[in-house]
Every structure is written in C-alpha cells, then in structure tokens.
Symmetry: C2
Subunit: 91 residues, 2 copies
Amino acid sequence: MSETDTVLIGKKPVMNYVLACLTLLQNGSKSITLKARGKAISKAVDTAQILVKRFATDVKIKNISIDTEQVKDSETGATSNVSSIYIELGK
Amino acid sequence: MSETDTVLIGKKPVMNYVLACLTLLQNGSKSITLKARGKAISKAVDTAQILVKRFATDVKIKNISIDTEQVKDSETGATSNVSSIYIELGK
C-alpha cells in the first residue's frame, strides 16, 4: 500500500466512506486523506468524526485544510468556484 | 470589540455571513471564528473562502478544527450526534 491513501467523499451514504477507510487501515494504510467538494464537505467531516470517535480510536485527525476549486460545467462551459476540504487522518 | 468574535453559520445565504464578517473586521475585530453544525459546515467553508480570497485578502485562515456535538431533539427528546466545524480567521 502507498503511504497516503485518498478517499473521495461523494454522494454515497456516510457509512460507505467509513467502511472504505477501515478497509484501508486494515490493509496497512498509515495515512488517509478525505477529500470532498461542495455539499459533500459536511459528509467528509461526519466520516472523520465517526471513524475517529467510534471505529478507529487510535486514528487521529492530523490536519484539516480548505481550498477553492474551479469547476467547469460540462453543458454550459461556465466555470464556478467550489469549496473543498482535505482531512488528513493518521495513526 | 472583543478579541475574538464568533459568527454562527446557519440557514441564511452565504453572502449574509460574509457581510457579517466584513462588518466585524471594519469595526476593528482582529479574529473571527466561524462555527457551523451539520449541513451548514460546507457553507462555513464557502464563507471562509469567499472572504479570504475575494473580500479580505489580508485575512488568513489560522486554524480549522472539527468536533461532534450531541443535539437533543426538542420533540422526541432523543439525542443525536452532529458534526461541527470551527474556522478561525485572523489578520
């Protein structure tokens, strides 16, 4: 496994992402970055909190950063700014 | 003005909160903490990004932390866990 794994948070239920992280950890991952954009940001925070407080209490939140990404609409071609979050988890 | 002001992010449009922060800054506030729970978390990130990148480029994101709060339903009396975010902004 690589040193840092990335889990992209999208439209699936929160527990899917918690499970994805737990699987990575069990396969020896030392560091996981949760990445989310727009409305999925709150789901990324939920995922981190559920993971750290309930399922993997040895894992800690190492760093949180936020950024803005330019997203191009595939139909209209217009660009819009979307906020994003990166939550770094590690043992 | 106090040293740290807190802006609670709720259901209003993002620009309301950006304006609230700008008003605080113009009144001499040196440090603002944005606080949001649940689905408003992504709006807090939006507020911070719009403020820092467009309207108050001298303001920087100092720290971001996340937590879990227990919220009691006023009707059923049941408690549920809600994620929260704190974004500290300062000059």
